[in-house]
């Protein structure tokens, strides 16, 4: 068993591609419990930040540090991509896949996958091909697959960006339960309403820089920067 992997500290991280800085330099700490919402307009660097924290981006500067050595955190982290990455497998086998990687036997992996599917409302879809699910169901599958290893931290990149109101509500309910069960959530969204509903803590990105944020109650009531204020009011940026 791996001990607690949090707090997570990003120390002056910077991500660049071809000489252009996409993100940072910025520092950030994820600790305690609850939900951290990464807010910001399109192109502000939300995806890049989440990927960098999860170790999917090469850092030009700085480092991401966990409470334990990074290799030990791998199985304790999970990531849900904005566009669900679906394997050419059935729903139950898709969710079971991470467990097979951990060396579980197929039967046991499938049983646990079926439980995880049940928890996100896909209990009746086990035998279906993953690619045949509806948009909302695909994202639920991705969430179930991410949760099946019972990670300590779950990153989600705009999981509801392409979903309708009903699917969005269902996913928010699933994530509320995940949060209750003690999984730390870091999720990006450009939907201010969703951010208000879910956040314990907010981080506001603008043009690749972290310029605002804090405890949700403080941030949403009294944002410190004009950019965050405008974004929360739904203003459009030039």
């Amino acid at each position: 068993m791996v001990g607690p992997i949090l707090p997570l500290r990003a120390e002056s991280i910077r991500v660049a591609r071809g000489g252009k800085t996409l993100l940072g330099p910025l520092s950030l700490e994820i600790a305690g419990e609850g939900v951290t919402i990464v807010l910001g307009p399109n192109g502000s660097g939300k995806t890049t930040l989440l990927r960098a924290l999860h170790g999917l981006e090469r850092l030009r500067e700085g480092a991401v540090r966990w409470a334990v050595p990074e290799p030990e955190t791998r199985s304790q982290q999970a990531f849900v991509f904005q566009a669900p990455i679906l394997m050419r497998r059935s729903v139950v086998d898709s969710i079971a896949y991470p467990l097979l990687l951990d060396g579980l036997l197929r039967g046991e992996a499938r049983a646990r996958a079926a439980d995880a599917a049940e928890a996100v409302g896909l209990g009746g879809r086990l035998a279906l091909q993953a690619t045949d699910l509806s948009g909302g169901e695909k994202q639920k599958l991705a969430i179930a697959r991410a949760l099946v290893r019972r990670p300590q931290i779950l990153f989600l990149d705009e999981p509801c960006a392409n979903l309708d109101g009903r699917a969005t509500r269902e996913i928010e309910a699933i994530l509320a339960t995940v949060r209750e069960q003690g999984t730390r959530i870091v999720m990006s969204t450009h939907n201010v309403g969703q951010a208000r509903r879910m956040a314990d803590e907010a981080v506001f990105l603008f043009d690749g820089r972290l310029i605002d944020g804090g405890k949700a109650s403080d941030f949403f009531d009294t944002p410190q920067t004009p950019e965050a204020r405008a974004h929360l009011q739904g203003d459009l940026f030039p």
Binding site: L56, S75, F79, F81, I85, M87, R88, L101, D132
Partner: protein, 234 residues
């Protein structure tokens, strides 16, 4: 015209009566090409997958070489294999010239690049789609290869069938290295060439029908596979 008509009737008769010569030649064709397809797949499929997910210095060169080999005229392959296997050639001691083994070798050389190239393409697309997920799940290199080969199995089968289709209809190379010897190395395509030359249209047509049936069967299988591929019915 009359020749063709009587030829066709005779062809049907040969097929319906399961003419022993016809059967023998057809089975030999299958034996050679199935063997060649299996060997070429054993080389080409892993090679294609390897090229798709590994970045190494010679990668582009290997892909360029594969493409060049794909364009190699089969007759030239036959000639090269002949020179290698002929008594005075470097592999002459093996005594393989004018055997079905020599024909299998020639077909393997012809279709391995095709199989490798198609599987490379398919696995590369799958790897592009799976990349972030498999990295996020912290998979080992071997686990990645396994997932890609398994989830891409239909595409890989398609690659093998494409190789089979190419090999079963090939005539130039196996004519040269096999010698088209009766009861030994005569297969569908070489027999058709010979019987046509002799004016023996009935047998040639009957052999032709079987060859067409085999080719259609493979194409049908390919078509069904690529259809299920798109609809992900498997």
């Amino acid at each position: 015209m009359n020749d063709i008509l009587t030829g066709m009737i005779e062809a049907v008769r040969l097929i319906l009566t399961l003419d022993p010569t016809l059967i023998e030649i057809s089975l030999r064709s299958l034996e050679v090409t199935v063997s060649a397809t299996l060997i070429a797949s054993a080389i080409g499929l892993p090679l294609g997958a390897w090229l798709a997910i590994n970045r190494f210095r010679a990668r582009r060169a290997v892909i360029a070489l594969l493409n060049a080999l794909m364009g190699l005229p089969p007759v030239v392959v036959g000639l090269l294999v002949y020179v290698m296997l002929s008594r005075s050639g470097p592999l002459g001691v093996l005594g393989l010239l004018f055997t079905t083994k020599a024909m299998i070798i020639a077909q393997v050389i012809i279709i391995t690049p095709i199989i490798a190239s198609i599987s490379h393409q398919a696995i590369r697309e799958l790897w592009a789609a799976y990349h972030d997920l498999l990295i996020s799940l912290n998979t080992t290199r071997w686990q990645r290869i396994k997932a890609l080969l398994w989830d891409g199995r239909r595409a890989l089968l398609t690659a093998s069938l494409a190789g089979f289709g190419r090999a079963i209809g090939e005539v130039g190379a196996i004519m040269i290295v096999g010698g088209n010897i009766d009861n030994a190395t005569r297969v569908l395509t070489t027999a058709i060439a010979l019987e046509t030359g002799k004016g023996n249209f009935a047998l040639a047509l009957a052999l032709g029908f079987i060859l067409i049936a085999l080719a259609i069967a493979v194409n049908l299988a390919l078509h069904l596979l690529s259809k299920t591929e798109r609809n992900s019915l498997w």
